[in-house]
Subunit: 343 residues, 2 copies
DNA sequence: GTGAAAGCGCTAACAC
DNA sequence: GTGTTAGCGCTTTCAC
């Protein structure tokens, strides 16, 4: 009986390959990087690589090239929206030979810094992130040091970065326009934390629609639920406790809409008979809800496409172009959660 | 007016730090790695590091240490379930100073190989993945080469890996038990691709429940929708077209349940009056659905915890223990989507 | 085209 | 404890 191999064989290096193929390491390196090689050498090297099961050590390579083919993604949490984006992002990134390193910071400054440090230490080629007001100042030094960042979703003005945004204000206006067109005049908005540009944009869209319809804004119908499901729930309750409650509600993201929905359901307020509801963020479950929830879906695929195209340009040769900002439209899907108000 | 600095300063290296602090690089390295250092040196080094904005180059470090603090995650797609797991995983990983590199392979062998190559080339410390029959043979060589893998969700028997699974069979049985307890006798299952162990387990659980209740299995009520929403939709239609349609349906994952739900909704079949429905996979939207959908939620948090604890042990000192398999129970939440059948 | 050789930034062994 | 030094595996001059 032969001895069992316990220790794992040291992976083959470029030197092993060179030796076995009878060429210099430089030649192997050139082969690996697709540079011209004499036919005979090429075949021999290819064969040896196969025999030895050689695989280039990316860490060693990046020490010379200063590129890792890894892009960092910094998100508050991997929820509905960011997960969908990540999904599209990894796929498109794959085409360009890159993968995404995911760090979620939980909206905690410490974790945020850890993430940035991790990315910087590992020399990721770029970092893609959802802006967050708390992070602005902390981010600046990294950018100054040369970190490539592309912001999406929430903006952090004044930072030197590329940007990919959704036309939140416009989509939001459209959603509320729809409700207003149906004759509603008391439409409430449950919005997110106003430190986030996305929350402000969606609120502005709401106001735009009101103005366009000549409907006055009622401050008591504008409530802040901080993007949070539970607060969406309580806000919905507050709204309904008003002497003159709204006839329609706009939940400015998935979580808050779910919270609102939960409150309405628990209190037997039916949609759309008793109240109309529209939501920012669309999910499959909204379409099978009874009634279906009218919502605007985030254009995650287009966002991912935009992000990757920016990255590709910037990480390619002559990537020193000016910073870019791209804005993408979001589609609204009409379903049965709103009804026409009798006059 | 001073010249504007165009070129980015080369990041400080450990040599710069050593020089500025007047000590040897070895000393700085020891400081960086938390080894004992004389007080005076410690402070000086700390200060210099701060002044120079020095940051350890992880790539260089990993060339010596052979560890990157990066764990690869290979998933078919970042949907509901995997996203939730990723969320928990990144958080727990963070505690151990690691981040997760995400690659999604779309169930395509080519992409799968690319992912493995990427991980291997980048020398990730370990790879966490959802098993998939197509990948078994391709994975084996990597494991033989020493790749550390932990499997979750679907099993790939015989591979040398750690494993973290959900008690799919048991949870599934409980779900069907519940329906059977209510007096149903024609309960259908819309299951996933049976090449996946998870699909087989959930189907077995269904059968266990049938047997336990002395209810015969009707082959026409067992349909394969390959995990897919659209096929969940068509299968639901097929089921309802049966001469003797089921009085209850079990959707074996989120996608298929949504598909089934959509069919029922479009054809005005109401739940639970006309048919009862239960689902594997739970989402917030299920709880606000009318009626609420009875479902079993995946224990993603516990899974992440298990995965990280395995990783921590194995990547720590003396990580050569035997492979482990952990099984985690899933909880079922009763809501209103089932009703008692009158006898 | 190709070989030889100089590093990239770090850790670990070794003497002191 | 600390300094010195030999690599880790690769890319990239530079001659030829």
């Amino acid at each position: 009986m032969t001895d069992q191999v316990i220790t794992r064989a040291r992976p083959a290096t470029i030197i092993d390959v060179a030796r076995a193929a009878g060429v210099a390491v430089g030649t192997v390196s050139r082969y690996l990087n697709g540079q011209p090689i004499r036919g005979g050498n090429r075949d021999r090297i290819a064969q040896v690589i196969d025999e030895l099961g050689y695989r280039r050590n990316s860490a060693a390579a990046s020490m010379k090239t200063n590129t890792t083919h890894i892009v960092g993604l910094l998100v508050p949490a991997v929820g509905e929206f960011h997960a969908a984006l990540l999904d599209r992002l990894t796929r498109r990134m794959r085409q360009t030979g890159r993968a995404v390193l995911c760090y979620c910071h939980d909206t905690e400054p410490t974790s945020f810094m850890e993430g940035l440090e991790f990315f910087a230490g590992h020399r990721v080629d770029a970092v893609v992130m959802d802006g967050n007001e708390d992070l602005r100042q902390r981010l600046a030094p990294y950018i100054a040091e040369g970190m490539l960042v592309v912001l999406y979703d929430n903006d952090l003005p004044e930072l030197s970065a590329d940007r990919v945004f959704v036309e939140n204000r416009r989509a939001s206006k459209r959603l509320v326009d729809h409700v207003l067109d149906l004759g509603h005049e008391r439409v409430a908005i449950i919005h997110g934390n106003l430190r986030d540009s996305v929350a402000r944009d969606r609120l502005e869209g709401y106001r735009d629609a009101l103005k366009a319809h000549g409907v006055p804004e009622h401050p008591e119908l504008v409530v802040d639920a901080g993007w949070n499901e539970y607060r969406g729930y309580t806000c919905m309750g507050d709204l309904m406790a008003l002497p003159n409650p709204p006839t329609a509600v706009f939940g400015a993201n998935y979580n808050m809409s779910i919270g609102a929905l939960r409150w309405l359901r628990e209190h037997d307020v039916s949609i759309p008979e008793d109240i109309s509801l529209v939501s920012f963020d669309d999910v499959p479950a909204f379409s099978v809800h009874s009634p279906g929830i009218t919502a605007v879906g985030q254009p995650v695929d287009k966002m991912a496409e935009a992000i990757v195209s920016i990255l590709t340009e910037r990480l390619g040769p002559n990537g020193a172009l000016g910073k870019r900002t791209m804005r993408i439209d979001a589609e609204i899907t009409l379903r049965g959660s709103t009804r026409r108000l009798r006059r």
